[in-house]
Structure formats: C-alpha cells, structure tokens
C-alpha cells in the first residue's frame, strides 16, 4: 500500500487526512483516485508533492512503491 497524506485545505477537499491506496502509484494513478475538485487543486502549480519527505521537483514524475508515503502540500500559510 501507499499512504496519501492530505495537508492543510487539501484535507478538507479530500474529506480525510490520510488514505491508503494500492501500490505502485504514479501521477496519473493519483489523479484517477481523486474526485474532480481535488484533482484540479492537486494539478495546480501551487501544490507540491513529497515522496517520503522529499519534495519532487516535477510532481508528474511521481513513482511511489509499496510502503511509501505521498504528501500533498498546498502553499504554506505564512504569517
């Protein structure tokens, strides 16, 4: 399994903080798992993706294997 972590307002959109999904998981697979508003948000340039704690330079190259954690990171809130 791969663990998805939804941070900030993405958790509201997803309706949950985490979700376990089947491994392996790539970018198209991730979008296919999300309903339209969430997929649109994740596709936006302000959302970053981290694989096991490292931000991907290009999130469309996502390739998560079993046991890994994929975090969906909206812009941080600042002051």
């Amino acid at each position: 399994m791969v663990t998805l972590i939804f941070l900030g307002k993405l958790a509201d959109l997803a309706g949950e903080d985490t979700r376990e999904v089947a491994a392996p998981l790539d970018w198209d697979g991730l979008l296919a798992l999300c309903d339209t508003p969430l997929a649109d948000e994740i596709s936006g340039e302000r959302v970053k993706i981290a694989l096991d704690g490292d931000v991907l330079a290009d999130k469309t190259t996502l390739a998560a294997l079993a046991g890994s954690e994929v975090a969906l990171l909206p812009p941080v809130s600042g002051g």
Binding site: K9, G53, A71, L73, P74, P75, S77, G78, G79
Partner: protein
C-alpha cells in the same frame, strides 16, 4: 554551539525557555529573542496550525543549522506550536545568542522570515459569527512573506 528545535502541541511560556537558554551560554555578548503570538481582533477566536511531522521537524533543524553557521551563533533556540491556540498564546519563539548584537538580531530576523514563508505549517482561524464569515477559514500565504524572504538571497 547548541541548537534546540522544539515542536510543541501545548502552550509554552517564553520566559521559562529563554532564561535557561541564555544562562547556558556564558560569555555571550547578546541575545535576541522574537516571540510571535496569536493576534486577537477581527473576531478571531482560535487559530489551528497543522504540520507534516516527517518534513516540519527536519526542515526546522536544517534552518537552525543554516542560521547558526551563517551568523556565527553561540546558540539557537527555535520553538513552534502546533494544534489549536487562542489569542495571546505564543505560536513561535526564536532566540539567538552571539558574541555581537548584529549576528543575534539578524539570525532571528532570518529564521522568522524562513519559518513564515518556507516552513511546512498550515494555518486556519476560527472567526466568530454565523454564515460564511464565521467558522474556520484557511489562511493564504501573504505576498509580504515572500518579499521578506528575498532579502536573504
């Protein structure tokens, strides 16, 4: 050089942390401390900070090391709250001690700018009232935070 990074999910007392931190660095020339608190006003009743443990703590440690090295610090204390807070409660504390004031003050300034614009925290506030203006609202990044950050590049 002692670096201490703390993520706390319960209230903290800045004075109780800064006193021992200062005393632990005999021979220092100056200590600069910034404490940020939850602002009241505009009907804000509470603030919630969420973070991503796997990245937040390593990110703060990296920032602290970078600042300690860049400003030649003798010690750096960096504390951040998470969870639900109320107006008047401290959210963040950065305290730096150095031989000279310039290093201590600049380090605090640098750390605060980076914590605000670059750290993995998400903030929402609960506002009083009914309808769309009341309840919980996510805080969007401010342009100022990125302008502040650019000063260090």
């Amino acid at each position: 050089m002692a670096i201490s990074v703390q993520l706390l999910d319960t209230p903290f007392n800045p004075g109780a942390l800064v006193g021992p931190f200062t005393n632990a660095h005999p021979g220092l020339g100056g200590v600069c401390t910034f404490v940020g608190e939850v602002r009241g006003g505009n009907g804000v009743e509470a603030l919630e900070l969420t973070h991503y443990e796997l990245m937040t703590r390593p990110g703060m440690k990296k920032l602290a090391s970078l600042a300690a090295q860049r400003f030649g610090l003798m010690g750096l204390l960096m504390v951040h709250r998470t969870g639900v807070m109320h107006p008047g409660e401290p959210i963040v504390l950065v305290s730096a001690c150095a031989q000279h004031r310039r290093g201590a003050i600049d380090a605090v300034d640098f750390c605060m700018d980076h914590l605000k614009a670059r750290s993995w925290f998400w903030k929402r506030e609960k506002r009083s009232g009914a309808g769309p203006n009341g309840g919980w609202h996510w805080i969007e990044p401010r342009a100022d935070d990125h302008t502040d950050l650019a000063r260090w590049q």
